[in-house]
Point group: C2
DNA sequence: ATTTTTTAGTCAGGGGACCTGATTAACTGA
DNA sequence: TCAGTTAATCAGGTCCCCTGACTAAAAAAT
């Protein structure tokens, strides 16, 4: 009973957080022209991240990885191509497949977007950041289990990308 | 320096969480037909929630509250009307304004969507839920400050709605 | 070796969340 | 009363995503 209440309170905070982050986000956008929504991993961004874990992939593989339809994937890849962040070329081995690759610019862009630390985390102390990371780890693990269906390898790679990305630059031995 | 690292780790967890929640969410959707995305407070849902804090409002007030343009608001209100969740009627006092009201169904729907506890919170213990709620409170407060620009009254009301909603059903005296 | 089936991708079209710009109808104030 | 604000609408556009229909190429089956 008390547990339920606590769950509900946490839920409400989460809902609130979602709403706040949303408006805070586009307040920022109104100033600076067209900056990436960091931390919103979807659409073109999702594709870009997926390519970071494995480059030169068939469009279809990409679609499977990120759990989008072939059509949506095609759309986003095309948009990324227009922005010169990826290239598309037909495979010679199998003339049906299109191979998608990151350009230098694309790689840079992706790295950069991972770099940004959302401003709202700046109110937290070291201990609080640890707490948050710990809680999110637990939640994420639960979600990984819940997913299963979707290609787990991509998410594992994604996970590694994310963590390794940050740890690479330091040589701290801490892990969870 | 160490602080930065902690921030980055937390960021990565957050990004990961976003991606996971996203796919976990639409895995659920593939089974059950068209269920609400709980906890995604935007578009029509945002309007619905806003009406919970104050009903029978002019469309313009609504737009101000939720920080959307009049046009977007009109669009969502229309969609909600088609779903029979709200009604629109011209004000007699001022013939320009359209008054939006929740229907019984709309109110029910909104309550229901607030009720749902995301499955991923079920992996957390009581203490962890408390921790999470605490952290989110702090983050949210920071975001409130960051926003400022947007109508703060709506967010206060929203905040109250959210918390009161959960606490109403019990008569526990706990607050944070 | 030819037919059938599967597979990778494309086009067309649509829905939801937003936005800017232009226009109309009604209210308000000088 | 005439000009200027205000509430709303229409038109059109972008981004994220999906379903359905279809082609071309490869793989499997006959």
């Amino acid at each position: 009973m008390d547990h339920l209440l606590k769950q509900q309170v946490a839920t409400s905070k989460l809902v609130e957080f979602g709403a706040l982050r949303h408006v805070a986000n586009d307040i920022g956008h109104r100033d600076n022209d067209h900056q990436e929504n960091q931390l919103i991993v979807q659409g073109q961004g999702k594709i870009l991240l997926a390519l970071m874990t494995e480059d030169n992939v068939a469009q279809k593989q990409l679609a499977d990885k990120v759990n989008l339809t072939a059509q949506s994937t095609a759309e986003f890849v095309r948009k990324l191509e227009k922005r010169r962040l990826v290239t598309r070329k037909k495979s010679t081995a199998d003339k049906r497949v299109t191979i998608v690759s990151l350009t230098a610019l694309g790689r840079q862009e992706a790295n950069q977007s991972l770099q940004e630390i959302p401003s709202f985390l700046q109110v937290l102390s070291d201990e609080e950041l640890d707490q948050l990371a710990g809680l999110l780890s637990k939640i994420n693990d639960g979600l990984y289990a819940e997913i299963g269906d979707a290609d787990p390898t991509w998410f594992n790679k994604f996970h590694q990308l994310l963590t390794s990305h940050y740890l690479r630059q330091f040589h701290a031995g801490e892990q969870d």
